[in-house]
Symmetry: D2
Subunit: 261 residues, 4 copies
């Protein structure tokens, strides 16, 4: 059972009739439908305005195996301490799926270490998401390309680190290309960025798009226990070294002292 938490900004639905009509249950509701009836997942949702912690208490995150993230107009309202909390859970082993405009979310930029910028255009053009390795777990059950009738364009250069795997590349009608499905490992956590999902289009009602998201959630799941100490820099005293040593030469630190950070 993969404990899946869908985090959604949920602001466009409140202010824009188009989005509200496309996603009457919120975009998070549409995303949750991706997992409906699949007993491998237990799914819940959280929203920016749920509470002072954006629905992401430490307990909630500790009980999450894979987190999905959709944000756009309110990236700046996500509190830095919550971003750090999420990042730490990723390092411990929680999977993270970042969707569409989440490329500019604080958490994605935090984990990538780069601007994560791109070109964009909202013209309702065709997007063709090509799959590079059809046997990749994230591509299970999909054809060689996913055709999306109307989508926002995202174009290269996409200022991300070189991906561990480039799983998907998109073609846009207006002439651009984009690395639309890319994987990373951050600490013990697996990260997948997936491009499609502009709020003005019914992309998250597309069964192939939802299948990518379900596949990616399964792929990102790490059953290992949380790597709690991954942030720590433990001292290994000379007499506890794998090959015990006598101290040689000068020293600055006392035995058992904490390192500087």
């Amino acid at each position: 059972m993969i404990r899946t938490l869908i985090w959604h900004e949920h602001r466009h639905e409140k202010t824009n009739k188009l989005v509200a009509r496309l996603y009457p249950k919120g975009m998070d509701g549409a995303l949750a439908d991706a997992f409906a009836g699949d007993k491998d997942f237990s799914v819940s949702t959280a929203r920016l305005d749920d509470d002072a912690e954006h629905g992401l208490s430490q307990k909630r995150l500790d009980d999450t195996d894979v987190l999905l993230w959709w944000g756009h107009m309110a990236h700046g309202e996500v509190k830095d301490e919550i971003v750090e909390r999420v990042a730490k859970r990723v390092f411990e082993g929680m999977g993270l799926i970042v969707l569409h405009s989440g490329h500019f979310s604080k958490i994605f930029k935090r984990l990538m270490g780069t601007p994560c910028a791109l070109k964009w255009r909202e013209a309702g053009e065709n997007e063709r998401v090509w799959i590079l390795n059809r046997n990749h777990p994230i591509a299970t059950g999909l054809p060689e390309q996913i055709l999306i009738e109307h989508e926002e364009m995202y174009g290269e250069p996409f200022s991300i680190p070189e991906p561990q795997e480039t799983v998907m590349i998109s073609w846009f009608e207006g002439g651009e290309v984009f690395r639309s499905g890319v994987t990373y490992t951050r600490g013990a956590g697996k990260v997948f960025y997936f491009r499609p999902g502009h709020e003005a289009y019914p992309t998250y009602h597309n069964p192939q798009v939802l299948q990518v998201i379900r596949n990616a959630t399964r792929w990102a799941y790490n059953p290992a226990p949380a790597w709690k100490g991954i942030n720590e820099a433990p001292n290994v005293p000379h007499d506890k070294a794998p090959v015990p040593l006598q101290v040689k030469g000068p020293r600055l630190h006392e035995d058992g002292q904490e390192g500087f950070r």
Copy 2:
């Protein structure tokens, strides 16, 4: 001419007689000697306490091709806005060499996106830095291993992203191993982390260690003009698309509007 700036915390030298004796010109002075007499480089230094910007004004950074970074006990005193300024210059194409305890510097963690934690021990033990690809530019003129008589141990797991290249791996007398020379690209900037250089030992007087640092500086140099706009997310209007388009479907954004961040 590679405009090289050596940034140094310069605190241990002030408070510890051992360090002061080992590095009478400061560790930055010893590092500067790595480039002495080599006309390919123009070298200057900056220190944490130089001024309110830690010697890293925008102008100074704009005039820097490659930045070296050594910090330890005062990582926390480096201002966040200066860290962002340095990160942006790396994205634009400035090279960055992070040394030893700089693994926990704000700038390195900022660019890696991970904890960058490790094990450590100060026992003056032997370190053997093995070179994996002797024809790598960073290995020019070096033997297959660099033996350092006394060094601090850093041990795996080192919680960094998978490197673009693992150039060096260290063996420690006490039984640990460590990825001691690793490369990354961040935006247009090349980043090299190099392990040796504990302040309690004369490591930065070792000619082979200095050669690695000089090689790495040359490797990290990118003669291309600064990529100024790498943080921006430009809109490409439908009628300026590489293949001009008619807008189809609904829209949220007006022409020429800024994207959300």
Copy 3:
């Protein structure tokens, strides 16, 4: 059920009493014990001298999900056509675990594209296999290091391509280091090289070593259907293009013609 096939050269056991005594069932027999009682696997073995195809008929390979490979003194006797057959199955999605002296097997060199050379010494020294990401599936259930009392040394430089992930690095008593656990993807197939396993030592009776091998087999398993056409270069006629085209400019090829190879 992961259909696991252990391929073993099985020559040392016939000519060397030491090896015969250490591995009375053959090294393949010891490796098979790694999976004993685990219902997720169905395990069989094949040997170089089994038949004219080294026990690796097309049918046998088609029915294999993950292949383990141990060879040493008879690499040169493995027929090139069988090597190609195995390589093709890897491209289609079969997992491959290459063990110890298999670094110089034809199949490993075929898939890496590099010399795969290294340093070595047979002195029965201590090996410490350090695990870099303890939450990696291949590290499940293991401590931070595996201590092997007596092993052959393999030392860097190991002339392999930069790994997709460096999961393990070994420390040797005599002063060398080695990337002992490295992953690759080749076509749709996952490949893991694992260093320990010199025939003169009881390494494949070490429960931790066997656990790595079992973990790696699970990790390498790809449930997707075989990607049969991955060697083919299909023509997409202009009128069957995703965006149908008129032919423009000159042409060399007729419609439907095969490409040159």
Copy 4:
């Protein structure tokens, strides 16, 4: 001075009037023009039918810093021993630029270890080669995209290993995408694959295409001395170990004995 050797199959020019008219000096002649007047390069050419060694004697290769490779209809005629000779020079540090239909050359498949297959269509359609990192040395002096009026389409999936860097991705008018500029390291040698260059079009008269090729040649140049022993697996005797050892446990090999291959 980068000693550059352009290897060309030179068969289409002999049998096809169109190609002969487009490339009166041969495609190799057009490629050589890329370097005309640039004193950093000394350029020569070799052709499949030059002599029994395809113009690639050991001496010629030893005197080459970077080799360019264009082949198509006669891949199968290149002798295996010459392919191995070229591969060994790459491992030693020679750069290699593989062009267009060279994706199916023996040397490229040898170095990649994968099928290197792709989709294709000859319809004279528009290709847009997008540059992902404009400060990459291979992108020097280029705009954000190279528009080629008429080109053959190559489409994903391109069955190559995950690149070290994906520098360029192409968009095709007919709806496909392709990783058009990808880098690898093989031993000490740098490898770049560059897609454009179908023999039926004047692609190698396009100044931007030629600039990519010139840039890539400069990038692939490694001034380090040839790594002659990279294919060897030297024994390090116990008493010559970095940390001298007594032999413990049993042994199979005698001192100084060659390893099995």
